[in-house]
């Protein structure tokens, strides 16, 4: 196997592994449900993207033809990860999950849950 090809596959795998691990560490470390949402949904799309890309390169080399079907998983995850994150954030809002200490504009949670208008809520944003 070509050295540079092996290096590329290894580097992509390493990047992917690091990002998957960082996503899990974020899920483990962060303090409230909203901030925990950020870590896995973001870090795992690039993490998995790196691993699947390295799989595409390696399999194409191994089997002699361009084998891009692992990219389908990446495509699927890129489309679905925001939907999951949005639904979970919505669940957190409607369940009045506790927020972290320095969270700003907490009033917006109530505004969003009760579908009030943003403009006549004094404690919220858009003070322009």
């Amino acid at each position: 196997m070509n050295f540079w090809l092996e290096l590329t596959v290894s580097v992509l795998l390493m990047i992917g592994g690091i990002f998957v691990l960082v996503g899990s560490i974020g899920l483990f470390r962060l303090k409230d449900a909203y901030t925990r949402l950020h870590a896995p949904t973001k870090a795992t799309t690039v993490g998995l993207g790196g691993i699947l890309l390295s799989s595409v390169i390696y399999m194409s080399h191994l089997q002699g033809y361009i084998n891009i079907h692992a990219l389908l998983i990446t495509l699927f995850l890129v489309i679905t990860a925001p939907v999951t994150a949005h639904i979970l954030a919505k669940v957190a809002m409607h369940h009045k999950v506790k927020t972290m200490e320095p969270t700003q504009n907490e009033g917006l949670v109530d505004t969003a849950r009760e579908q009030k208008s943003v403009d006549d809520d004094a404690g919220s944003s858009s003070d322009n």
């Binding site: 992917g16 899920l27 998995l48 699947l52």
Partner: protein
């Protein structure tokens, strides 16, 4: 070099899975548990793909695709159920 990288990445993903399991068991709120489950799905896809590279076969691709689809549908169904008390409105 590749074998060593595969081992390292496998260990990293497994540590991630353990951390997710901790959040799944402890997680103070139901949102955290669903999120931990969703992340576990994604980590298992990564682990399966790494194993596929290790074995040099793309047979595991189908399993990974199925886990991706099931993971998305089940996370959304969980979320919907918690949100409304009903999966299909």
């Amino acid at each position: 070099m590749l074998a060593f990288t595969l081992l390292c990445v496998g260990i990293m993903i497994s540590i991630g899975l353990v951390l997710n399991l901790w959040r799944l068991l402890v997680g103070p709120d139901v949102v955290d548990r669903i999120l931990a489950l969703d992340t576990m799905f994604i980590n298992s896809i990564a682990l399966i793909m790494v194993y596929g590279i290790h074995k040099g076969t793309s047979l595991y691709f189908e399993a990974a695709l199925l886990i991706a689809m099931l993971g998305f549908v089940s996370s959304v169904a969980f979320g919907k159920y918690i949100l409304r008390g009903d999966i299909i409105e």
